[in-house]
Structure formats: C-alpha cells, structure tokens
Subunit: 268 residues, 2 copies
C-alpha cells in the first residue's frame, strides 16, 4: 500500500520583473503563487472543485495571514509547501511554508477557505459535500503560524485615507477583483518612504464581499506603523459617508523595524 | 570548437492566477516573461549590463510590438524563444517567438533597446561600449514580425479618455512605472464588453519618458476599435490642458474580430 502524501512542494525562482523596487520577490507574485499551489495541491487529490447533480461548487478564500521573516531576492530559488491542516463544518484551514532551497524558513501563510455553490454563492457544509475525502490528507501536527488571526475592529468614524477605482486589469478569472490585488491596494495607501525602508512582517486579510471592475474602493486605516499593527478596512462604493457602502475586506498590517541600507540594494 | 548558440528558449506553463478573466495567459505575465527572457538571454552572454571605468550602463526598452494569433490557456505550456536581430549605433533589435510546446506559433514580439549611462541617462553608441561583442550572436535571417513599427501621430486636440494615479505597486526595480504596466493601463481604458469579446491582435508601444510613483497619467485615444487600430498617447501630470505634460508613451492597438462564445469559457 503506497503511503498517502499530505503536503506538496512547488519550486520557484525569482525571475526578473517578479521582484519589487528592492529586487526582492513582490507581494503580487508571492500571493498568486501561494494561491496556485493551493489549487494544484487540491487538484492532484481531486478536490479542487466539485460538480454534484449538475450543481457546481467552488472554493473561495475567506482569510489569509502572512508572516514573513525574509524575502527571496531576484535569481534565488524558493519552495512553497502546502497542506490541509483541518476542516470543520463550512471551512478548511490550509497552511504554507515558504523556504529557501536549502530549507531555511522564510515565511509562513495560513488560509481559510469555504466552498460555495456557484449559483447561490452560499457556503456548504464540507462533510456534506465531500464525506471524509479529506481525512487521509489532514496534517494537524505540522508546525504553522501560531496565531493565525486577530480580531479586527475598526471604529466607524474613520475617514478614508485613499480612494481608487478598480479596472479590468484588477479582475481575475472569477470576474471579481483578485484576492491578492487587495494586498497591493492596501500597501499602496502607505507613504513610499515607509514601504521603501520597512518590510511587512505580518499581514492578515479577511474577505467579506466581492468587488468588481469599475467599483470605487475607499480605504480606512487606524493605528500607526511605528506602534503596533495598522487596522484597515476597504469599503466599496461608499460615497462621502463612511457608514455607507459594503465592507469588502478587513486587514491588519505590521511593519518590521527599518531595514539596513545595504540590504536595500543588494546588487550594488 | 563549440558552435555559438544565438537564440535561447525558455519554458513556461500558465499557472492558476497567471491567466485573465477568460482563463488565458494575462498580458501582465506574458509581458514580464518576455522581458525576463531578454535579460536572461543577455546575461548568459555577458551583455545584460556593463560597468566601464566605474560608470554603469543599463538597457532600457525603447519600443515593443506584439502580434498575437492565439493565447495559451491555463495549464498549457508555452515556450518563449529570443535572439538579437541587429544592432546599429544607439539601438539593438531583439525578437521573440511565442510557441506552444508542440511548436505551433502563437505570437511574435519585436523590441528595440538602448543602453544608457545610469547617471546621465544618455543613450550610448553600442559599438563604442561593446566593440563587436554582439556580432557572433546576431541572427538577422530568422523570421520575425514583418512590419515592426508604425508611425503614431496623435492630433493634439484630443481630450483625455481616462486619468489615473500611479501607485507603489506599479513601479519596479528601476523605481519607475513598469513598462508592461502601461499595456494594462492602456487596455483598461477600453470598455469591459470590448475587452471580454475581442482579443488584441497587435499592440505597439513606444516609450518616451519615465513616470514615477504618484504621477497623474492622462490617456488619449483616437480611432475606433471596429475600424483599424486605435492610436493612443499617455501624458504625465498634464493638468486640464492636453498640450501640457510630458509624453510618456505612444501606442497603437488593433483588435481581432469578436471571439466565438464557446472559446470564452473553455472550462465550462
């Protein structure tokens, strides 16, 4: 009897133009590769999507947390390993390790997914759909992010720090703004000198509703990058009144201490 | 004596989230892979960058033309082959074939590059820098795009069809808006139904000046997607007067006839 493999590892290299201004892997590419690894891991085990009695069911990302200690540089190889940690009623937890090719841990990602009916958009009880199909693949023992999610509470009186419109290039195959694109939107609200001098050490995002091409997004932030995490909220089509408009996502972003200057331009 | 290899081929696969709404390779990923292939091909031959007497010289992209007959779909493999076609005083022409893994041609790309002094930003005479280093690698015979570039002439009285601000996530390692990002910006100015129903068959872009994080870009378009190519111009910080502001790039975009509905969602 062959042993069941619970985790899959996927190998990548930071190609030119997959890096950011500092020559290190960009959030956009890392985030999309993380999602691709989830899809490929699930597809290899037959649970990437489901059709039952003519109804189609799809995974949607509910929450995502990144903890990054270090970023791979242009030309460097890295490995993303993913496994399913648990499932419970409507949700399943999936974890990721991001390592250098010599095995050194660079960061970790924790995600929570629901499976929705494509028509009704309602989440489904996972045991009802899959029975115990997942059971052999669950690895609850493997180390992962210790505190995956925080409670994000925004005071309602905040004024938006930024507004932007979404465009066609922001949407993906699901016809909504791509999950990872929100991370870029959120980071774009910070001053350039901050983003140039400090890494994000931890980023959590909780997705509440979809936004579409042409939506106007308002960004709200509370907290100071120098003093604990910044709490953020994105609302769509909010108009002038911040109490209006549907919440698209909440986020919590923590910055690491300033980088050393010589790390900023490693190629020089 | 080992034979000198003029062209290099790089193998890719359309991973999940590297596709657009239609499940086909996105412009963003194709464009960045094309640039990465150029860099990797040049690096393998020692002419990706240059330091002479303490001065540093970098390649900058001057023009780019895409002719696409077909796009690879999610999960499909494709191959980008690149070679140097010629060099002459300030410029060098570099070509690309994009093929399916069975060799079928999907599209072609033609690019023109200059090498600038990093400090003065002035283009350099290539023979002066490199002598005849390129000569053994030139392949002027290999078929490429037959008519690489058109003359793009905008009437000055056009009013902008769109304005947008650039953000931190739009800039790359060179601290300016990434060359490929302009292609997305340009396509974003067209109506969503047009982009959903018709492919771009040909796209030319000529870069004139850089734009930076926080710049306001104004987009001007002349022509009708149903009747020949659309001529486009991007100006930065133009204000209300279209005669103001520096030209960032010109472009020419041609759309193919509407796609068949069944091609639109191949996974269904």
């Amino acid at each position: 009897m062959s042993e069941i493999r619970k985790a899959d590892s996927f190998h990548f290299r930071v190609n030119p133009f997959e890096d950011d201004f500092s020559g290190r892997l960009s959030w956009s590419v890392l985030g999309k590769h993380v999602l691709a690894c989830a899809e490929n891991h699930a597809a290899a085990r037959g649970f990437d999507r489901l059709t039952l009695n003519g109804r189609r069911f799809l995974w949607v990302l509910s929450r995502m947390a990144f903890e990054m200690q270090e970023w791979p540089h242009r030309g460097e190889e890295y490995v993303i390993t993913t496994w399913v940690r648990s499932y419970y009623r409507y949700f399943t937890d999936r974890c990721f390790d991001i390592c250098r090719s010599d095995g050194k841990l660079l960061g970790r990602v924790f995600t929570i997914w629901a499976m929705i009916d494509e028509e009704s958009r309602k989440p489904q009880v996972l045991e009802g759909l899959f029975g115990h199909t997942f059971d052999p693949y669950i690895d609850a023992e493997r180390p992962c992010i210790s505190q995956p999610f925080s409670r994000i509470r925004m005071r309602e009186e905040a004024a938006p720090c930024c507004r932007r419109t979404t465009y066609f290039s922001d949407i993906d195959e699901n016809n909504h703004v791509n999950s990872i694109r929100y991370i870029e939107f959120l980071l774009d609200t910070f001053p350039k000198p901050l983003l140039e001098s400090r890494d994000v050490s931890r980023l959590e995002i909780a997705y509440h509703s979809e936004s579409y091409c042409g939506d106007s997004l308002s960004f709200y932030a509370q907290g100071d990058a120098d003093d604990g995490p910044v709490q953020m909220q994105v609302r769509k089509n909010a108009g002038a009144d911040p109490a209006q408009g549907e919440t698209v996502c909440h986020a919590l972003i923590s910055f690491a201490p300033p980088r050393q200057a010589e790390v900023l331009h490693p190629k020089e």
